[in-house]
């Protein structure tokens, strides 16, 4: 083996940095790096180190650049870091740029082949792995060879930064669902690289992992899986969908949890239909919701556009159904594999005419699960479509979380009348009409097909109707119905998840945000506090916006609305919903396709406020 001895970097050993740095793993997609990266993340997780993993992948199947960033944070910060100290540069196409992005004192782990062609910097540590030579020493069948090659960096990383090999083996075993053969095959490669690194590489960087107690009792999962699990615990019955990144894995999640709801004969209580397109998917769940089941679709921007007409129908005919929008970057096909919060306005106003859709905005894994089940209760209680707006970052990346809470309330089917209840209703009110508002909350009573009562039938429609659901073109019927729907919106406003508020600092500065910016904002607030700038905090969790948000805005002199889209859409909605003066509200909107970072918030807020 003709392996060059590493040239010594100029930077010499400094104070050790333990459990507080980030990696970026640059590979080509389809090369099997996903398993390697997962193994790293799960190993750190099991070492008790708070960690996240974010995948930046291209919109094709094989061969284009992918970056996977892993951040370990002893303090439990799991937002994306703008800069990673370490790069695994395994993609020749991007290696030069990847190395250029390292901070001084950073670390580049690369292959001997790539090392030869990239520009060397003298302020970072280089570790070169002789991948081809190492692979020659293995007895991996040639069919798998390409796929396990990436395990070499796992081995090097394990040795360099102290991840125990046996723990990695355990993780591999879980990854392959207990199958020893593939676990061993991968582990052999890891061990080979580990041993080679031990022998040949002199560590010149200060980074190290150490077991700690930061994750015990915690779980790791993707938001799509969490939402899917929530739906399964929320009693979903009918799932109709059409494949689209990044929402596909949401339905994959339901498929994988479907067994939890099978009966003893393995018969299903969840029907899952891959529809011919998103229009059909929306139609199927509208039909299913109308007929009394709990129905869900999951999609992303282009699908939301195509569902506009059905969303309007479901809104106006008052059919419960749950739509997940796992947002990716738009307009148009946009960047299908990049995250964004850019569908807020469009989803809220989805459908022509005066319609406003109910939206839930989960900000973390626990809420993805919680809104997963609660969305059905809300949809049925409010007899309305409910849109859960998540995003690619939450949906497809692994997030660290406290375990979820089992639903704290029984399933709420809302105001559905069975035959006996219908009779009581008629006894009490003289008659039953589908759109009668006897409770004064804008929410009428409904029946579902199959109810054996002579007066149970009604005719659902997207056209004008009176309280009896009879077709009507009368202005007064129309206006009355629209007024009731407004009233229902107000009922919803306070029934939907209320904002999370941290009002304790007594500061004049309020930060308003929603969704997955939570972690970045939290960290940025800590940084600001370090600089002596206290901030209060509100995270909107639903649309229409709760009245508490207005109170928060008015009780702060300076309010920043932080969101990950280009136009500052939450800021726009706040202006729509505030007839009063809110000129002290400023928009900090990003929209670059990447998860929000604390540094962006910190810098922009300081600049604005300073």
């Amino acid at each position: 083996m003709a392996i060059n001895v590493q040239s010594k970097p100029k930077v010499h050993t400094r104070e050790p940095v333990i459990n507080d740095f980030a990696f970026s793993v640059a590979t080509k997609n389809g090369s099997g790096s996903q398993t390697s990266n997962n193994v790293l993340v799960m190993s750190l997780f099991r070492m008790g180190i708070p960690v996240n993993g974010k995948n930046l992948f291209p919109s094709n199947i094989k061969g284009l650049p992918t970056w996977y960033t892993i951040r370990a944070s002893k303090d439990g910060y799991t937002a994306r870091k703008a800069i990673t100290e370490i790069v695994v540069a395994y993609n020749d196409g991007t290696a030069t740029e990847d190395v250029a992005n390292l901070p001084p004192g950073g670390v580049c782990i690369t292959t001997d082949k790539i090392a030869r062609v990239i520009k060397q910097r003298d302020d970072i540590s280089y570790y070169e792995i002789p991948v081809a030579a190492l692979m020659k020493q293995t007895d991996v069948p040639s069919a798998f060879r390409k796929l396990v090659e990436n395990m070499t960096y796992v081995g090097a990383v394990a040795k360099l930064f102290d991840i125990p090999l046996d723990l990695i083996y355990d993780v591999l075993l879980s990854n392959f669902k207990g199958k020893e053969k593939p676990a061993k095959m991968n582990h052999d490669v890891i061990k080979l690289a580990y041993d080679w690194t031990a022998e040949n590489i002199e560590k010149t960087d200060p980074y190290r992992f150490e077991r700690m107690d930061g994750t015990s009792g915690k779980i790791m999962m993707t938001g799509n899986d969490a939402g899917a699990l929530g739906a399964v615990f929320g009693g979903v019955n009918v799932v109709a969908w059409y494949p689209i990144t990044p929402s596909t894995s949401f339905v994959d999640g339901i498929i994988s949890f479907r067994h939890l709801r099978q009966n003893e004969n393995k018969e299903n209580t969840i029907a899952i239909v891959q529809a011919e397109d998103e229009l059909a998917a929306a139609g199927i769940i509208t039909g299913a919701g109308w007929a009394g089941s709990r129905a869900l679709t999951s999609t992303s921007g282009p699908g939301i556009s195509l569902m506009a007409e059905f969303a309007g129908l479901a809104y106006f005919a008052e059919v419960p159904a749950v739509f997940w929008n796992i947002t990716r970057m738009g307009p148009s096909t946009g960047l299908p594999t990049r995250t964004s919060q850019g569908d807020l306005l469009f989803t809220h106003f989805l459908g022509h005419g005066d319609s406003r859709q109910l939206c839930l905005l989960p900000g973390n894994l626990k809420e993805a699960f919680e809104f997963g089940w609660k969305s059905f209760d809300l949809a049925e209680a409010l007899q309305s479509p409910v849109f859960v707006i998540s995003d690619l970052d939450l949906g497809m990346n692994n997030w660290l979380s406290d375990p979820f809470d089992y639903p704290d309330q029984p399933i709420d089917r809302g105001k559905v009348l069975n035959a006996a209840q219908l009779q009581s209703f008629i006894d009490e009110h003289g008659k039953w009409g589908r759109y009668m508002d006897v409770d004064g909350d804008g929410v009428p009573y409904r029946t579902v097909p199959g109810t054996n009562h002579p007066f149970s039938a009604y005719f659902a429609r997207g056209t004008g109707h009176d309280v009896m659901a009879t077709y009507s073109e009368r202005s007064d019927d129309w206006v009355e119905n629209m007024h009731r729907l407004s009233l229902k919106m107000d009922t919803a406003r306070e029934m939907l998840p209320q904002p999370i508020i941290e009002n304790s600092s007594g500061s004049d500065i309020g930060i308003v945000t929603f969704g997955t910016n939570e972690d970045a904002v939290r960290e940025a607030r800590d940084w600001l506090a370090n600089d002596g700038i206290q901030t209060d905090y509100l995270r909107v969790r639903a649309l229409p916006i709760a009245s508490a948000v207005g109170d928060f805005i008015h009780s702060h002199k300076s309010v920043f609305v932080i969101e990950n889209n280009f136009d500052g859409q939450l800021n726009q909605l706040l202006h729509i919903e505030s007839p009063e003066d809110i000129s002290h509200v400023r928009s900090l909107a990003l929209g670059d396709g990447l998860p929000m970072t604390p540094s962006w918030i910190y810098e922009n807020l300081k600049e604005q406020e300073g």
Binding site: A280, G287, A288, A291, R294
Partner: protein, 348 residues
């Protein structure tokens, strides 16, 4: 004199809906009437039925029949998806759905083809008049090639044949009829209601306001003069089954009668007219449709029938209770299951 009643003790009136708001004489109204008659005669329980439609004059009609059934007047071209969802939610429901040629042949082409492919079990009626009635008489995709309409000029495109489309898409029950032929429409409706799969009924239903000139193949005059029924059709209910042999005498020789057994044990009995069409033969079905199109022969009757594939609910392997009726126990796994799952996800 009290009105005649059926086996449920209901009069025919009780199977009606609200008064029609279609043009007097519209073909669609006769189809509604045949539905009412058949529902009355079969003694269906309306609360177990749903009626769904798209948008159009045709799609308005579910408001005019089966007032005791839940109905959904959905979106233009999207009835099939709504039916699919509703029947997944509650597979015990029966469904009569109405669409138009614009609704299914133009905007709804995709859903039309795909609902058939999934074999969702319902009666899919297309009230086919060759025009967009509700938007005032534009050509639909089933309009005759070479037809001239006052305002929209000459139609230079070949018609889409929705029955042929249905056969190609794998429909196991495809019939064509004429709204002016009450008897045949009724027989086919009865058969379709007993079918365990998507039953497509392409019924030529003249638009008296916009497309009733005798030069149109979708007009009353044309239909009346040119209808060529392929068979005489009779439905033998399951309890009628033993009469089968007895009937095989009479006007008909052996071989002149085709008995098609349905899923529920009933039979469609087809008595040959002057042709050899056997609806169980897919190639014959395609040929009869191709020939009709080419030579403008208005052949009606049961065009194609095959033993149905599993329905969507079958392939989904659903529990026997309709999903919409499941209780909390079936809708939410236990707290124990949940906690086990959480533990499995923990770091240690």
């Amino acid at each position: 004199m009290p009105p005649r009643v059926n086996q449920l003790g209901l009069s025919r009136n009780e199977y009606k809906g609200r008064p029609s708001t279609l043009c007097p004489g519209c073909g669609h109204d006769s189809i509604s009437n045949q539905i009412i008659s058949i529902a009355y005669e079969m003694g269906i329980e309306q609360h177990n039925f749903i009626k769904v439609s798209g948008i159009g004059c045709s799609s308005k009609t579910p408001a005019y029949f089966l007032g005791g059934s839940h109905g959904f007047n959905a979106l233009h071209g999207r009835m099939p998806s709504v039916v699919t969802g509703a029947l997944l939610a509650n597979k015990d429901l029966s469904c009569i759905a109405v669409s138009g040629d614009g609704d299914s042949g133009s905007i709804g082409m995709g859903q039309f083809k795909h609902v058939i492919r999934r074999n969702v079990p319902f009666v899919y009626i297309i009230e086919n008049n060759g025009v967009y009635g509700l938007t005032k008489g534009q050509f639909s995709a089933t309009a005759d090639e070479g037809q001239f309409l006052k305002y929209y000029g000459l139609n230079e495109m070949p018609p889409i044949d929705l029955a042929l489309e249905a056969v190609i898409s794998g429909a196991s029950f495809v019939a064509r009829s004429f709204s002016g032929d009450a008897k045949q429409v009724q027989a086919l409706l009865q058969a379709a209601l007993r079918h365990h799969g998507t039953a497509v009924l392409d019924i030529i239903s003249p638009c008296v306001t916009f497309n009733n000139a005798e030069t149109s193949t979708k007009s009353y005059p044309y239909g009346k003069d040119n209808e060529v029924p392929l068979h005489e059709i009779e439905i033998l209910a399951p309890d009628y089954v033993h009469a089968k042999e007895e009937i095989e005498v009479g006007d008909y020789e052996a071989g002149d009668i085709i008995d098609v057994e349905m899923h529920d044990g009933s039979f469609i009995r087809l008595k040959k007219l002057d042709n050899d069409h056997d609806p169980r033969n897919r190639r014959m079905a395609i040929d009869v449709l191709e020939q009709s199109l080419r030579e403008q022969i208005f052949s009606t009757g049961l065009i194609y029938y095959e033993e149905p594939r599993p329905t969507l609910a079958d392939t989904e392997d659903l529990v026997s209770t309709p999903l919409a009726r499941l209780d909390e126990g079936s809708l939410r796994p236990s707290k124990e299951a949940f906690e086990g799952l959480m533990r499995g996800l923990m770091a240690g």
